[in-house]
Symmetry: C2
Subunit: 233 residues, 2 copies
Amino acid sequence: MKSERISELITNRLSIYLRCLNEMAAAGEKTVSSERLAERFHLNSAQIRKDLANFGEFGTRGVGYYIDSLREHLTKILGLDKDHRICIVGSGRLGAALADYHGFRDSNFQIVALFDSDPEKIGRKIGDVEIFDIKNFSSVAKRDKIEVAVIAVPAEAAQAVLEKVTKAGIKAVMNFAPIPLKANDDVKVKTVDLTSSLESLSFFLAGGADQAVNGLKPNVKRRRKEYVVKNKR
Amino acid sequence: MKSERISELITNRLSIYLRCLNEMAAAGEKTVSSERLAERFHLNSAQIRKDLANFGEFGTRGVGYYIDSLREHLTKILGLDKDHRICIVGSGRLGAALADYHGFRDSNFQIVALFDSDPEKIGRKIGDVEIFDIKNFSSVAKRDKIEVAVIAVPAEAAQAVLEKVTKAGIKAVMNFAPIPLKANDDVKVKTVDLTSSLESLSFFLAGGADQAVNGLKPNVKRRRKEYVVKNKR
DNA sequence: TGATGTGAAGCGGTTCACAGCC
DNA sequence: GGCTGTGAACCGCTTCACATCA
């Protein structure tokens, strides 16, 4: 509830700002204005100022933001001053791919465990990450201090997995199953739906909005022309 | 421009509706009301009706939607009645993982080529997909009738790759590089930023909005209490 | 002067509520 | 009676515009 005061749109942008600031710091720059930052990602400068203003007054009028200081603030705000331990539930192709994708390795996110229900797989390793029995989720999660669960199981199993990890006290979940999940208020779920992302692209390729309302199928009747016109623009 | 009349939020939902309808059809159901569909994904029924109304009048008052008929319409609208050929640019860990992830195999999306700039990798295969020299992108893309490019290269290289595939006539791009890209108006780019998704979760774990405005750092001055209070709620 | 911080306006998406139709 | 299709209200995010301050 109160945790909804800051929207996900904002936190996503904070993450992007921080990445950019890190680059600038590496390039030896000292200060940056919201205007210049905005240019970097074709974005509005007022938005950047407003995003930052949610957390305090970090800027200096007439100057801009001191890069090092702002980096520190954002790092703390995003909780990136601490390490986070992740597990992946589901060691099928996607789960295995994610475990093997070292994209997070150099960050403070670390994949420390995999889970599966298939007895064939339990005990094996992918890279140097062991696959555990999902039945033991709670104890392994506690022992290994896991904070984030990545759901990479088929759609049918995803809701049950969410409930299982929730019971074990997990508060942050990244869901790759192509299905909307119902979670407790105190659990944050981010769904990444690759299939519907692709299908959105397909829609665009198929002619996108051009077919809307007008590219009608034979069995669709048309009345009320005035609405059609309104929708058009 | 006109292609922006239908938002991505809508197309994402259409994709989800279709998946649900397919399941229902498989279960032998014939009709469904927007209300019942809405329950399935904890969502508002008016929204479903409005989404569908963008494309015609598919429902029957007093009855609901005929599942088979609606499936056909949505399949056509999303362009899923045709096959789509995909390539992945970047055969590093992420690219290889995606190539090896068969999640799309049983759909009408097919991964037909990989591209890389590393001479070591060119000519090899991942699964049964060959890695080509990015220099030959244009000719390979034309020969293999590639419609969608997946960008899985480091952030620094992503914009250049986008420009290269755009020049080759690609109109739909899925970007995994953690950086916002600038594209032509007639090219659709979907960015999936796993890092900023994770960092959003980290924000939530770190206390989320609780730290906003109030969890202030020493060097942040506070004036104008009235705004603070306003922001608080 | 130059850039922040922010009220107010603008815009787009969601939800409500109900007229219209089966 | 039941459910769609949709104007109107609502809500939240974005952009504008400017007072404020180093």
